[in-house]
Amino acid sequence: MKKKLIAVSIFCLIVIAAGFSQANRGAGIAKKTFELLESNDDYSLITMVLIDKRGNKKTRKFKMYSKQGSRGRDSFIEFVEPADVKGTKFLTIARKNADDEQRLYLPALGKVRKIASSKKDGEFMGSDLFYYDMEDRDYEEFTYNYVGEEVFRGMNCYVVESFPKDSSAPYSKMVMWVNKDNYFVYKRDCYDSRQQRRLLKSIIVLEVKNTRGVLTGTKMVIENHLEDHKTLLERDNLYVNTGIDDSVFSVQNLTK
């Protein structure tokens, strides 16, 4: 009887230890993805094509400037297309431990409006990306689990699960495919926060550009599996670390 008890205890310890080891391994890989070199500032012309389940397309084109500040990453967006929204501008100034400050300029109205919102699961520019997907995240915000290795689009990848600690996060779980060579995340499956096992969307990076060591996804597709909706995102004219002036991220710049 005693022997059996010992055997069971050892087995349990092995299982627990294995669990810890999987978690550690996953966390280790994830940490490396967070440690990838990021740009200080960048500019690109973004073409966003939204495709509904009937195959109808809606194209939006905007210039996007972003810069790392002391309190987070600021961004400035100016719409180019479609024609009737040309000149609409959107400024986001990051705030540490608070909601970001957002301001909007509608040229047809000729006025700047401050927008207050604490929503994290809002869609970014009507796309399949949430604002949550666009925000800078910290390594400590998640717990991890190593799943295994897999070949994804010809690349050898680690597969790691991450679980947000924040219960208000729009996802219950994310599964990442991390390229073994450069630790860039090429695919992310995001699971619904409401129905945990349901795959909500997949973010797949189709093209990556290396600019002076900074890896940037320049072509990606976001598939919303529940809505049967898709977003294609392309970043052209990418300029990284060109020293964009702080004045770009100012309220005055909205009305210029």
């Binding site: 397309k57 047809a108 927008i115």
Partner: protein, 823 residues
Amino acid sequence: MKNNKIGRLASKIGMNVIVRYKWFFSLAVAVLVVFGYLGLDKLVLDNSNESMFEKDDEVNLKLQQFHDIFGNEDFVFVMVEADNIFTPQNLGFIKQLSDDLEQHLPFAKRVTSVTHMEYLDVIDGDLYVDDLISAHIPEDPAGLNEIKNKLLVKQVYVDRLLSKDAKKTGIFIEFQTIPENVYIPLVKTGAGSQEIALQGDVFFEEEVEDKSVYLNIMEPKMLIAPALDLILQRNQQNGCIVTATGMPVTDYKTDETIIAETGRTFIITLFICIILLLVIFRFPMAVLASVIVILAATISTFGLLGWFGIPLSSFIIILACLLLIIAVSYSIHIINHFRRNYKLTGKRKESVRYAYEHASWPCLLTALTTAVGFASFIFVPMVPLRNLGMASALGVLISYILVMVLIPIFLSFGKDKKSAAGASVRQDTEAVDNSRSSRFMLKWADRALKSSLPVGVICVAVLLVIPFFIAQVEPDSDFIRLFGDRNEFVRDAKHVTDNLGALYSYEVLIELPEEELAQEPEVLKALADLEKLIDSYDTTKRTMSLNDLVKDINMTMHNNDKNYFVIPDSRELIAQYLLLYDMSGGGELTNWVDYNNQYLRLSVQVKRSTTTLRKVFAEIEKFARERFPFNAKATITGDMSIFIKSVGALVDGQIISIFVAFLGIAVMMMLVLRSIPVGLLSMIPNVLPVLIVAGLMGLLNITLNMMTIVVAPLLIGIAVDDTVHYFVHFKEEYKTSRSYFRANRETFRKIGWALVFTSVILMIGFSAFMFTSIDSIIQLAVLLTVGIAAALAADLLITPVLFVFIKPFGKEEDTNNKKRLVA
């Protein structure tokens, strides 16, 4: 002697084939029943609005086009009532309920309630796009009051999400496109059996590996209502009354009620029939045989419908009881002939032969006429009625075959008995014919002929009055009126509809010739004018469109100045507002304008369904044609457009079905009686009950609806049964006696009581419908009962007069009878 020839042929087949190989035929019936039983699983009940017409019908194509553009328009509305909604406890309850619905109600796409909604506001020039109520519900009265006022100040929410008195609020649930089938997990219970886990957790085809632990749901929409019940049960709050409605709820509850009522009505009818058969025959074997026939016919018919993939609607309740009543009616004729001969001869096999010879042919004719009556629905342009027509015709023929196979087999078991203490057959015949019941029928036969004048006067008077009442019959297909408010879910639907939500709606789809035109100010202003027109109708509860958003944003961007609750003049500004709305996570845009800005949707909730909507629809289309720029086209679709089409189809269907049933049965009667005038003559006692019932509908204010439309063709099909029995026997008797008077007496003596019994069984059987909770089925019961009584009265009073006086088979030979008659 054609009838006799057929009778003799039938008796030969019956005795030499069926009775001789009774075990083989019993086994064949058993196989049919088992096959039918296996098909019951495949039987589909569909009461949905879309199932009214064929998939390629214009009304469904329009709805499909609408679904393709704007997705599923189904919704569930949960109304919460309290003396004060805006207390921390009540708002906490609404939040908890909304969360539960959002997380566990199958296919829920978006839940909107006071605790689950975005609010666009402007404070000191800053635009706030945020949840109306943050994660923490305010505790202080000022904070709670502020929330209430924020809602009441915006027209788009008043009487939609919150009543004017702020005592009623709604939780509005929209749904994703519902897949064709899903799986739900089976959970092992303590007893080892498996039951469905209705936790709102559904799995799609690709998510299921081991299908044995899941239940495949072929109608996923039907998961919504039971899951909603569970959620509402586990979320309750003192002082809050919660009521839910919506098409997914009413569709499910309709099916649930119909199935329960069908089971209950079937058992009541079966019980009544067993009692009646016992009283009439005092012959347990015959009753047992009849019950077996009833069950075999019902299982086989429903099973075959399952195998053929013919879906049933609310008519399942009629079909089940009808098969029962018809099987009993045919059984009575067979058993009656058997019993009569068995009493006389004491010879069992001889009596079975006699029953085959005298009952199989008239019963076949009655089965065919009833089947033709039902088959007339095949020409009605409504799918549920068409399916009822096919199903009933099939069921009637199956019932006939099973009666003719099983009843004689049962009756053939047992030994012969000595006829009445060794008396001669002649004495026995006299004994039977001199019984009190036979004497009564003979008296009746004579009296019917004597009272021809008053009967004729009454008939003429009735015929003169009836058209006035018939003219008052209105068509209707309103679900609430059809069901009546004996059922809780109907009362709930009515209660919610009378207050915040609405059960019925129609959609106006504005199609522009090119993309990107939907944001043009002239288009939106025309849409606003159209809304104004629709709002002016009595039937309209409220209208909703893209304009609500545009006007609300415009007002908000101008510091909530109500003067700006208008459509802006600039196309760019409209586009930028909508971009702002889209960017700030507003989820409603795709509800009102399509992706390419080519289609606009104007949703109209109506107070009640009414036929005046037909005129309203025509006016809307005319207004849209004249008012919209760019030659925009307006199409009306949704529940109410199906309703209007159904109402039209009911009227057309009634005319077609009566015409086809009358024509089909009249032609059959002409062929059977081998005479055009006699065939037409035979239809008089069958048309009269239909006219009486139609007049009664007008008198009692009963509408022509999905249930009552069945009455007329069914009545022609059933009422003609007695006439067939009377005519076939009359003709036979006339050929023997060559006297109309004697033929009438003999016919009454032989089958008079069988006619009365079958009619009484039909009347009592159909009156079992009066115990249902569904108004239109109760109306059906009243009309059918009165109709069959009228048909019996016509056969007992009018038919003999017509035959004896008109003399359809030529001059009679027995002149003494003529003298007696005149005397």
